[in-house]
C-alpha cells in the first residue's frame, strides 16, 4: 500500500526532464524568430496591392497574367534542370573520391566548398566575362572561327546553377558513401553485379536520402536565386527576378506583389520538400557499421581518367572564382580596365571599407556559434525523441530553406520594429536572421550523422548512471562532432555570403562584404568588387581547408 502511494506521488512530482525543457525552449525560439516574421509577411499578401482590401486578388493576378505565368514556367524549368545538372556532377564525383584513392582529395573537397563561396551574381558576371558576347574565351575562339554557344538565357542559367550547386550533392553524398557498411556492396558484387550495376542497384539507393536532400537544396536555391537570372537572363523572367524588381523598383514597384510572388515560390519549394519526405518515409537506413568502405587503388589508365574527371569538374566550377581573383589584380578606373596589374583595388578597400570585412566575419561567426549549439540540441530532439513535437520540429526546420531572404527580411522588419523589441538597424538583427536562415544546414548535417549512431550507445551511458544531459555532452556530442563540424562549416560559408536578407536590413554601420560587392557591381566598380570577393574567397577558403583536414582525421578516429 505505502509503496503504491509513494509511486503515485513520485509520478506526479517528477521534474520535467532535461529534454522536455530543451524542447520547450526550441519551440519558443523558432516560434519567435521564424514563425512570427513569416506570418506577418503572409498576412501582407492577402491585402490587395492597389486597394488594400482583404482577399486573394494578388494571387489571382499571379496565376492569370501572362507576365507572371511565363515567369512561373521558367522558374520551374530552371529549378528542375539546375537540380538535375547538379546531381549529374555531384554524385559521380562523390563516388570517385569516396571509393578510389584520389590524390589531393582535400583539394577537391576544398574547391567544391569554395564554389559555394562565390556570390552567385559575381559567378554569373564572371561567366559573361569569359563566355559572353564580348567574353575573353568567346573572342579567343572566334579567331579560329569557332562559335561558342550562347551563355545567355535558360541554358546558361542552368549551366551556372549546375556548377554552382553541385557541391551540396557532392558533400552530402560523399559523407553518406563513407558511412555505408561495406558488406552491402560486397554482397551485391558477390551476387554478380558489375561495378556499375552495384552502384545503381545498391549503393545509390542506400545513399538516396543524402542525394535527395542535396537535390532538394539545389532545387530550392535554384528557384530562389536572383543574381544569376538577373544577369544572364536576357529577357528570361523568373519569379525571383520579378519579385525583386517589384520590391526594389522605386517607380512602378508594388512590394505587396513581390511578397505574393515570394509566397508562390515558397509553395513550390514546400511541394518539392514534401515529395522528398514522402519518398524518404518508406526507407529505413539504420544499419550496423561493421566494416568501413575501402578506397581502392586503380590501374594507371583508370587513375588518369578518374583524376582527370575530378579535377576537370572542380576546375570548371572554380573558373568564375579564378576570373574574379585575376580581375582583382587588374588596374581599373571605374568599370574600365586600364590594362596593367597592381594592388590598387585592395588599397582602396582597405582605405574605404575595413568595417565591411570585420562585420562579415563577426556576424557569420556569431551566427555559426549559435547554429552549432542549437543544431546539436535540435537534432537530438528530432532523431531520438519520438513524439509529436519532434516530428513538427523536423518539418519546421525545413522552413528556412524555403523562405527567400527578402521575405524573411521584410518579416523581420515588420516584426521587430516595435519598442522595447526594436532591433532594426542593429548587428543583432543581422546575426539573428543569418542564424535562423542557416540553422537547417547545421541541423541537417547533425541529424544525418546522429541517425547513424546507434541509440544503444546512449542507452549504455544512461544505464551506467549518466543523466540525459550528461549523456548528451559526454557521449552524443563527441560522436556527432564530424557532423557538427561539417554543418557549421556549411552554415559559415553560406552565412558569410548572405546577401538577399542583409541587403534589406543593413545600415552604414552594419554593412557586410556581399552587400558592398553588390552595390559596387551595380555602380560598375568591378575592381574593388573583385578585390572584396577575393578577400571573401581566400579567407573562407583557408578556414574550409583547415577544417577539412581536421574533420578527416576526426572521422576515422570515431568509427
Amino acid at each position: 500500500m505505502t509503496s503504491l502511494a509513494a509511486n503515485a506521488l513520485s509520478g506526479k512530482l517528477r521534474m520535467p526532464g532535461f529534454w522536455t525543457i530543451v524542447t520547450i525552449l526550441a519551440v519558443l525560439l523558432l516560434a519567435v524568430f521564424l514563425i512570427l516574421p513569416i506570418l506577418n509577411v503572409f498576412a501582407i499578401s492577402f491585402f490587395d496591392a492597389k486597394t488594400g482590401e482583404l482577399g486573394i486578388s494578388n494571387y489571382i493576378q499571379v496565376f492569370t497574367r501572362r507576365y507572371y505565368t511565363s515567369a512561373l514556367q521558367n522558374t520551374l524549368l530552371i529549378g528542375f534542370l539546375g537540380m538535375l545538372g547538379a546531381c549529374l556532377i555531384g554524385v559521380p564525383l562523390a563516388f570517385c573520391t569516396s571509393r578510389y584513392r584520389i590524390r589531393g582529395r582535400a583539394v577537391i573537397a576544398t574547391f567544391a566548398v569554395l564554389v559555394l563561396c562565390a556570390p552567385p551574381f559575381i559567378g554569373a558576371y564572371a561567366w559573361i566575362m569569359l563566355f559572353g558576347s564580348n567574353g575573353a574565351v568567346t573572342n579567343f575562339l572566334e579567331q579560329f572561327g569557332i562559335n561558342v554557344p550562347t551563355i545567355y538565357g535558360i541554358p546558361g542559367i542552368v549551366l551556372v546553377f549546375s556548377l554552382k550547386f553541385f557541391p551540396y550533392i557532392y558533400l552530402m553524398t560523399e559523407n553518406a558513401l563513407n558511412t555505408i557498411n561495406k558488406s552491402f556492396e560486397d554482397a551485391a558484387e558477390n551476387l554478380g553485379c558489375t561495378t556499375f550495376e552495384r552502384f545503381m542497384k545498391v549503393t545509390l539507393p542506400l545513399v538516396f536520402p543524402a542525394v535527395s536532400t542535396g537535390a532538394i537544396i539545389c532545387f530550392v536555391l535554384s528557384i530562389a536565386d536572383f543574381g544569376t537570372p538577373a544577369i544572364l537572363g536576357h529577357g528570361v523572367r523568373t519569379l525571383s527576378t520579378i519579385a525583386y524588381s517589384q520590391y526594389t523598383s522605386e517607380m512602378a514597384g508594388t512590394p505587396t506583389m513581390a511578397v505574393t510572388i515570394s509566397m508562390v515560390m515558397i509553395a513550390i519549394s514546400m511541394g518539392a520538400l514534401l515529395l522528398q519526405r514522402r519518398i524518404l518515409a518508406k526507407r529505413r537506413y539504420a544499419g550496423a557499421m561493421t566494416s568501413r568502405p575501402v578506397k581502392k587503388s586503380m590501374s594507371p589508365a583508370k587513375s588518369v581518367l578518374v583524376h582527370g574527371f575530378c579535377y576537370l569538374v572542380v576546375f570548371i566550377a572554380m573558373l568564375p572564382s579564378f576570373t574574379v581573383v585575376y580581375t582583382s589584380f587588374l588596374e581599373t578606373n571605374g568599370p574600365v580596365f586600364t590594362g596593367g596589374f597592381g594592388l590598387d583595388s585592395y588599397a582602396r578597400i582597405l582605405r574605404d571599407s575595413p568595417a565591411a570585412v570585420a562585420n562579415s566575419f563577426l556576424f557569420a561567426l556569431a551566427a555559426v556559434v549559435l547554429i552549432a549549439i542549437v543544431s546539436g540540441l535540435l537534432s537530438f530532439i528530432v532523431v531520438r525523441r519520438d513524439n509529436f513535437v519532434a516530428g513538427s520540429l523536423d518539418l519546421l526546420l525545413m522552413v528556412p530553406y524555403l523562405i527567400p531572404g527578402i521575405v524573411m527580411a521584410i518579416g523581420y522588419v515588420a516584426t521587430f520594429r516595435h519598442p522595447p523589441f526594436d532591433i532594426t538597424g542593429t548587428a543583432l538583427i543581422i546575426i539573428l536572421i543569418v542564424f535562423i536562415r542557416r540553422l537547417p544546414y547545421g541541423v541537417r548535417s547533425t541529424t544525418s550523422i546522429l541517425r547513424q549512431i546507434k541509440p544503444s550507445i546512449e542507452e549504455a551511458a544512461i544505464n551506467l548512471g549518466a543523466s540525459p544531459a550528461k549523456t548528451f555532452t559526454s557521449v552524443t556530442v563527441p560522436l556527432m562532432m564530424p557532423g557538427l563540424i561539417i554543418g557549421s562549416l556549411m552554415s559559415f560559408i553560406t552565412a558569410i555570403n548572405e546577401l538577399s536578407s542583409t541587403l534589406i536590413l543593413y545600415t552604414s554601420k552594419t554593412i557586410t562584404m556581399p552587400v558592398l560587392i553588390y552595390i559596387q557591381v551595380i555602380d560598375g566598380e568591378f575592381g574593388t568588387a573583385a578585390a572584396l570577393s577575393t578577400v571573401l574567397l581566400v579567407s573562407t577558403g583557408l578556414c574550409v581547408f583547415a577544417v577539412f583536414r581536421l574533420s578527416e582525421s576526426k572521422e576515422s578516429a570515431f568509427v
Binding site: S456, A460, N463, L464, G465, V475
Partner: protein
C-alpha cells in the same frame, strides 16, 4: 529472497499488446533467461526493467525497492547490449570507468576496480586500446566489464552473444556463466537460442505473444513442457495428429497403445509429441509398452556424435529420429521402409493450436 519482482506488467504499442500481465519473481543470485522467438516480448520486458520503455501498468521492484517510475539513469541495473554499444570515442579503460565516474568514485578506487574487472574478463592488456582495435568478442567483454564494474543490483543482458560466431559464442557463454556464479550476480538474460538458454540458466522463462508460457529449471522445461509451444521451441520434437475413436488411439492410421490417451474423449483434436532421441530404428525386440510406426526414409545425415534420420509416415507427416551412429542405420537409403519404435510413456499429448495445453 527475490531480487527482482515483476508484477502484472502490461505494455502495448497502439493495438499490439507487447506484454500482457507479466508476473515474475527472480531469486537473488540466479541466472534467469527470457527465451522466445523474435517479437515475443522478451526484449521489451528487459528494456522495461532497464527503464528504456515505460510500462502501461504494473510494478517492478529490485531488492524490495520499486523502480518502475524511476528514470533509467537512476535504476542501478547494469546492461549488456546486443550490439556491444561500447563508446567508440574513448578507450577501453574509460569505457569501463564511465559508470564509476558517474557514481563519483574516487580516482584511485576506479583504477583498482577497473583493473580487477579487466582481469576477470581477460582484457588486462587492452586497457589503453580504442574499441575499434578490438574484435567483436573483445568488445562484448568490455560491455560486460562495464556493466559488472558498477556492482549493479541486477545485470540485464540483451542477446549479448548473437553477433558473435558460433565457437566464440560457446566459449563466452561459459565464461559469462562462471563469472555470474562467482560474483553471485542476479542476471536477466534474453536470447532466442534455446540451447544457450538451457546451458546457462537457473530458470528458463519461455515467452510467446507477450505471455509467459512456462518458467522453470532447464531440465523441467525440457522434460515437462507446459504446452505445445514450449515443447516445440525448446529442443527438437516430433508432432503428429492423434486420432481418437471408441476402439482406441491411432497415429497415421496405425493403432497405438497410449494409456495416457485413455481419459480423452473421441473426437478431440489431439497432437502427440515424441522427442527424436527416444525413437529407435528397426529395433530387435518390441515390448507392449512400445509404440511402433512404419515410415519411409527421406535422408540420413551424420553429424559426428550422432545420426539423424528423417522419415515420412504413411499419412505424410514427417518424423525425425536421432541415434548413435551405427553401420545398419548409415546403410539406409532414401525410400527404404523402417520401423520406428519409442516408449509409450515418453509420448506427450497436447491440445491442438500453437500454445495448445498439455493433456498428459
Amino acid at each position: 529472497m527475490a531480487a527482482v519482482e515483476i508484477s502484472n506488467i502490461r505494455k502495448s504499442y497502439g493495438d499490439v499488446l507487447a506484454l500482457s500481465g507479466i508476473n515474475i519473481s527472480i531469486p537473488s543470485g540466479s541466472f534467469f533467461t527470457l527465451l522466445g522467438p523474435s517479437g515475443c516480448g522478451k526484449t521489451t520486458l528487459l528494456r522495461t526493467i532497464a527503464g528504456f520503455h515505460q510500462q502501461d501498468s504494473g510494478g517492478i521492484s529490485v531488492e524490495e525497492q520499486a523502480i518502475e517510475h524511476m528514470p533509467a539513469h537512476k535504476r542501478d541495473v547494469g546492461m549488456v547490449f546486443q550490439d556491444y554499444a561500447v563508446f567508440p570515442h574513448i578507450s577501453v579503460y574509460d569505457n569501463i570507468a564511465f559508470g564509476l565516474k558517474q557514481r563519483k568514485v574516487a580516482k584511485r578506487a576506479i583504477a583498482e576496480r577497473v583493473a580487477k574487472i579487466l582481469e576477470v574478463v581477460q582484457l588486462a592488456p587492452y586497457a589503453a586500446r580504442m574499441p575499434h582495435e578490438l574484435s567483436g568478442g573483445q568488445q562484448q567483454r568490455v560491455g560486460l566489464a562495464r556493466a559488472l564494474v558498477i556492482n549493479p543490483k541486477v545485470l540485464l543482458m540483451d542477446e549479448p552473444l548473437s553477433n558473435l560466431d558460433a565457437k566464440l559464442r560457446v566459449d563466452l557463454r561459459r565464461e559469462i556463466r562462471s563469472i555470474q556464479q562467482s560474483m553471485n550476480m542476479t542476471t536477466v538474460y534474453v536470447t532466442h537460442d534455446q540451447e544457450e538458454a538451457l546451458a546457462m540458466s537457473d530458470i528458463v522463462c519461455v515467452m510467446y505473444g507477450g505471455i509467459i508460457q512456462q518458467a522453470a529449471a532447464p531440465l523441467e522445461v525440457y522434460n515437462n513442457p507446459s504446452n505445445r509451444f514450449v515443447a516445440s521451441f525448446v529442443g527438437a520434437n516430433n508432432f503428429f495428429g492423434l486420432t481418437l475413436s471408441p476402439s482406441g488411439a491411432s497415429i497415421a492410421g496405425l493403432a497405438v497403445n497410449l494409456p495416457q490417451a485413455a481419459k480423452l474423449s473421441s473426437g478431440d483434436t489431439v497432437v502427440a509429441a515424441i522427442r527424436p532421441e527416444f525413437i529407435s530404428i528397426n529395433p530387435d525386440g518390441i515390448t507392449p509398452e512400445t509404440v511402433t510406426l512404419t515410415a519411409k526414409v527421406r535422408q540420413v545425415s551424420f553429424t559426428g556424435r550422432e545420426l539423424t534420420v528423417a522419415a515420412v509416415l504413411p499419412s505424410g507427416e514427417e518424423i525425425e529420429a536421432i541415434t548413435a551412429p551405427s553401420a545398419d542405420v548409415l546403410a539406409l537409403r532414401p525410400d527404404d521402409q523402417v520401423t520406428l519404435a519409442f516408449p509409450a510413456d515418453k509420448v506427450q499429448l497436447y491440445a491442438d493450436g500453437v500454445t495448445g495445453a498439455r493433456l498428459s
